[in-house]
Symmetry: C2
Subunit: 238 residues, 2 copies
């Protein structure tokens, strides 16, 4: 059973860390699937729509789904200024941010070799509370723009009060690793003689047709940003 995916923290192997940014960020299970290349890491972070953010309080870990947005060498998350999560992370509590994309079910000839195709990134580190107004506003803009490019300029910008209630945290990509599994099942040689269908069922997060809000005023045209983005997505999917 190889369903356990990105495993950076596992039993030490005799193989030395190659280009892992730190010993603890090194992928130890199935290290051949590891990738410390920033282009790979950035592409996964930029495609994923949700991150899972881990931090411990009194020894109990919490894993919270949240939107993230990368800008250069940092990945931003945000939350209510009143939240314990924001205060905990801003105090320098170690954190782990993980983004996972599912690409396929891998159906092997044996139960044991069933697997998933996926791309994942694990970022370790301590978050920094973003204090400067310019960086904070830039991050908030990114959260919107990464979902629908062009959207920020269509909508009402945040008021001072809204900005005041929102905190942004930045996690540096110094200790990041990617792990990728692609391709078909890897069966035992002798299992290829079995009369068992094997292959991959592709998986992808698809967007549907935009649904107008029920309180949308008559005569308001569909958003150029949403339309343009939908058309781009269609071309990508085609």
């Amino acid at each position: 059973m190889l369903f356990l995916l990105h495993r950076p923290l596992q039993e030490a192997r005799s193989m030395p860390p190659t280009s892992a940014p730190s010993p603890r960020a090194r992928v130890r299970r199935a290290p051949s699937r590891a990738d410390y290349d920033r282009a790979t890491i950035d592409a996964i972070l930029d495609e994923g729509l949700v991150a899972h953010l881990g931090f411990a309080v009194d020894g109990q870990p919490y894993v919270i789904p949240t939107l993230h947005a990368r800008s250069g060498d940092v990945v931003y998350v945000h939350g209510s200024a009143a939240s314990r999560m924001v205060r905990t992370l801003a105090a320098g509590t170690p954190a782990c941010l993980t983004v996972t994309l599912l690409d396929g079910l891998v159906l092997a000839r044996s139960a044991f070799h069933h697997s998933m195709n996926y791309r994942s990134v694990v970022v370790l580190g301590q978050a920094r509370l973003v204090e400067g107004d310019a960086e904070r506003r830039g991050a908030l803009r990114l959260f919107t723009e990464r979902l629908v490019p062009g959207r920020w300029d269509e909508v009402r910008p945040p008021t001072r009060q809204e900005l005041k209630g929102t905190q942004v945290l930045a996690l540096a990509l110094d200790e990041a690793s990617a792990k990728v599994r692609r391709g078909g099942p890897v069966d035992e040689d002798e299992d290829h003689a079995l009369d068992v269908w094997a292959g991959v069922v592709p998986l992808a997060l698809e967007r549907g047709t935009p649904e107008p809000d029920e309180r949308l005023r008559p005569g308001i045209a569909a958003s150029a940003a949403v339309d343009g983005w939908a058309a781009t997505a269609d071309r990508r999917a085609a």
Copy 2:
């Protein structure tokens, strides 16, 4: 900005926990979206194809994507018997297992009220190493069956050696909470007068057409389990 999703650990509110199974499992941000009903929790766990498992070692949390499978009141995960994660969790280290389903991008008239539609479950607790052969084999069967029902009986079962190398961990659902956001944007009253398109872009993890393994022997028909499951999925999607 309301992009921070399932937030069970947040500033204490004056509102008492209603039906949360424990104070620390109580959803504190946007508690109106919380749901402690087991039917809701089970449905989310059963639909999600990946869980994010959190545990801390020497104060550093790790969040690892992994397949999970629910059976009654427990959720199983598994890993190599040699892995540090398995040994860490088997030793009783507190864990958190989170499953998140993305259902839509919520595009509001203001940047601040952009959000996501989602369903998530957070399970807190200590994992138990599954020792009995029957329970362990049953769990391994579940990992395969939950992806493609009927698949287990089509494939070569695990050998004694394969079983020996795989450990299964069980996490009880005693401290679980669900959080769900549905529907359109919730804008400020005055923002409804703006000339801004608002609505929801649905999201769903879709499966594509099964792709046969390149080493598939000629004459092997597509798997009944894969075919049947694909047809069911088509009907669900239609």
